[in-house]
Amino acid sequence: MTPGRRPTARVPAVAVVLVLAFGILAAGSSYWQVIRADELVSSPTDAAVLVAARTVVRGKILDRDGRTLADSRRAKDGTPYRVYADPAVSHPVGYASALYGSAGLERAYTAELTGAGGSDPSSRLFAKFLPPADRGSDLQTALSLPLQRLAVRLLGDDRGAVVMLDPRSGEVLVLASTPVFDASGIGNPATAQERFEALREDEASPLLDRATLGRYVPGSVFKIVTAIAGLGSGSLSPATTFPEQPGAEEDGLVVSGFTIRDGHHAFTGDEELNLVAATEVSCNIWYALAGLDTGGANLDAFARRLGFGGPLPFDVPTAPSQLTNGGGPLPGGFLDEVELANAAYGQGEVLATPLQMALVAAAVANGGELMEPRLATALVDRQGRTTSVGPRSMGRILDASANAALVEAMTRAVEGDRGRLFTEGAKVPGVLTAGKSGTAEIGGAGEPHSWFIGFAPADAPTIAIAVIVERGGRGGERASPLAGRMLRAYFDAQP
């Protein structure tokens, strides 16, 4: 770097800087044009997808047995519009309207349904040499139209949600939310404006998919998450008991000045409860002590592995479930030990979506390994070529032996002598059923939220379920019997 040297000697250094800059530009080009291309090109905001959505006849959306959930018609002037099989599937299927955009699967798979995004990069490369598609691919889903209809009928006039999925594959059979809406009314250009405005102003917010976007206090169903965190981190064993627990049943457990109460003293007396017994009688005090032993950091870590703390990997948007409001000084973001103790049995600041709680049940049902939930199972293009969407794991949450203890606990909670008092209705005759009810206190006047999560058959689960009925009362009153009816219908339909 001798200043006396002529400027010409330093020209190569400037050249190197500029070559680097252009190299970065080329890298930027490959980032958007290759690495991120698939994602952007099939996004509903892509201009080509938007154009296709207005001109191309969308493919059908089908249920797991080939029943049509969404189909296309043409108006008198030739513009295509959508009709839907049943308001019961309006939330997962969504709607597509020239005026009001799209929602649900109709939105998530706009590119595929309209044929704008190719199924794979190589076919897209050659697609430019072919005439544009006049009809998109059909979307095969895991949904079951009869079960979906039954769920909506059983929820009736109540607001709530039912989620059922196959724990082995993550295939979602039921994703029901009430109140439902008539998606065909939005799809039909003649009625779209009137219907959509009415739905938007309805204070029951029927357009909201409660199963994926409703965040509820989970109450006792969250105890399964605490048990998973305790067993998984080694803080708990199936044999863990707390000597102070029986005494505390009479006049409450005091944590930093806050008293936690229970209502099952009449059945358990002086018995020191272990995991199975505490789960069977839904002992808040045992779970509060278990949560304090497990600690906020472990609880937070295992909740995250189950999907808490962010959107779930799913076909349609999901709201993030949460353990705390965040920002507290304790590990996991808890403000103090009171919040941690309350969170351990699903109160405090814990909020969860029905889909999230269904995943908790599914993780236990699948031997401790959680599968990604999914609605779409395959795409069938105009030439009949099928592209399957395979199952994907979200990772192993719990090892098999610890998981077995939890399966036993949840089985006793439904099948055991004392558990039946809470979850009687969930029992499926002839099928060993596992589960956990929840009664979520939400403050103020009125009934608590009624919850149930579970799976069956307990020894070789094929179906997991989560049910919430807003203001439905105790878990055993509304959600457990509803889950029982759904499970019975599911097993009745099996060959």
Binding site: V11, G28, S43, T45, P121
Partner: protein, 475 residues
Amino acid sequence: MTGLAAEGAAPVLPGFPRPRARPRELGLLVAVLAALAIGSLSLGLLRTGRLEPADPLGLVLYAAGLLVAHVVLVVSGRRLDEVLLPAAAFLGGIGLLVMERLPQDLVVQEIGPLTLGLGDLQLLWLGVALAVATAIAVALRSDRWLRPYKYTWAAGGLALLALTFVFGSEVNGSRLTLQVGPFSGQPSEFLKVILVVFFAAYLAENRVLLADARVRLVGPITVPPLTYLAPIVAMLALALGIVVVQRDLGAALLFYAVFLGLLFLATGRLTDVVLGLLLFAAGFALLALIFPHVQQRIAVWLDPWADPLGDGYQLIQALHAFARGGLVGTGLGAGLPEIGGRLPIPAVHTDFPLAAIGEELGMTGVVAVLAAYLVIVGRGLRIAAAARDDFRALLAAGLALVVGVQAVIIAGGNLKLIPLTGITLPFVSYGGSSLLANAIVVGTLMALSDRGAAPPALPRPPRLARLRGSPRGPS
């Protein structure tokens, strides 16, 4: 070889140079024209379904213009760079194809009885730019009217810019254009050339002082003495001040980067460059504090998806366009799907031609365009490295930097690597001022590439020969 020819049968007429063949340039021009013809055919095929060029007259006129320029350069007999013209012609031709492909009513101008659309106007300006570049390349033989009058040039440039400020018309909230009759121009495009001339002249004169007479700032960190730095910093500050007030942030960034590059070339002091970068960061932070529109630019850059239908719309649609293009593109005319009769990217012809190229010619096209800029920059820097004196070296390097840095700023903005600023993509974007200013750059670089007949020898050759360049080459 040339020596033999000089003694051959055709004696050179006094006052008339002997033609000098430019085979490399001719070959490259033919390759460029072939590529453009194929592009035009593909656009035509897509439009009419028949294998015919989209705008045969435009293509022929452009080809004719290039060949005339080539012939003029041959006839001039100067030993000029043979790669710069084809590289710029390639970029200009791609720009012409893009402008012919876009809806013609994006820009419409009536000149006399003619009503010209986007493609016609771009062709017109390309023709003028080609004439200007060739004229400068052939005629610019001395730096005598550049070097001594550096303050005059700089004052003139600043005056032009100040004029825009007073009489200019606002486009998209920025006062950048000056309207003269039917023509409107952006003086900041020309100011960049004038600034390079000024910087080069000043730094060439004072570089030893700037490098060696150091003043201690803090500890071991030294800076050039303020008295020698003041004129150039004042000029830079004035130029930056005007363009910043005019909200032409891209031009401000360009001026500053070119200044730092030239300062480094002149003094070789890395500390000066680092201090300059720190000052830049501080100035940028200050601008962001003062001007809400700067904050908004940064916010859009960081997360355009925060406001996908408002502030972020243009950038998001550009990124989608790049993505739709993929590796090889949709083909000319097959991309840029119109929604309700509107192009997906607003201002695509001035601010986002690279996105249009990215969609229709793919990553391949983008990389080809970037490579063409590197060729121009590379040739410019080669000319600088081979220059006879410091002024010429700094001038050539500065001109190369102007093209290279401007391309990086706008391409980086299009690709969401840096915040977007509204400057043009050199040689490609629609616009007369941009094409003319860059034509001046290329023409001057070509003129500078003529190192005369022989290495500077003592005693000096007679004045006439020095000006025209001796016919006898070193072979």
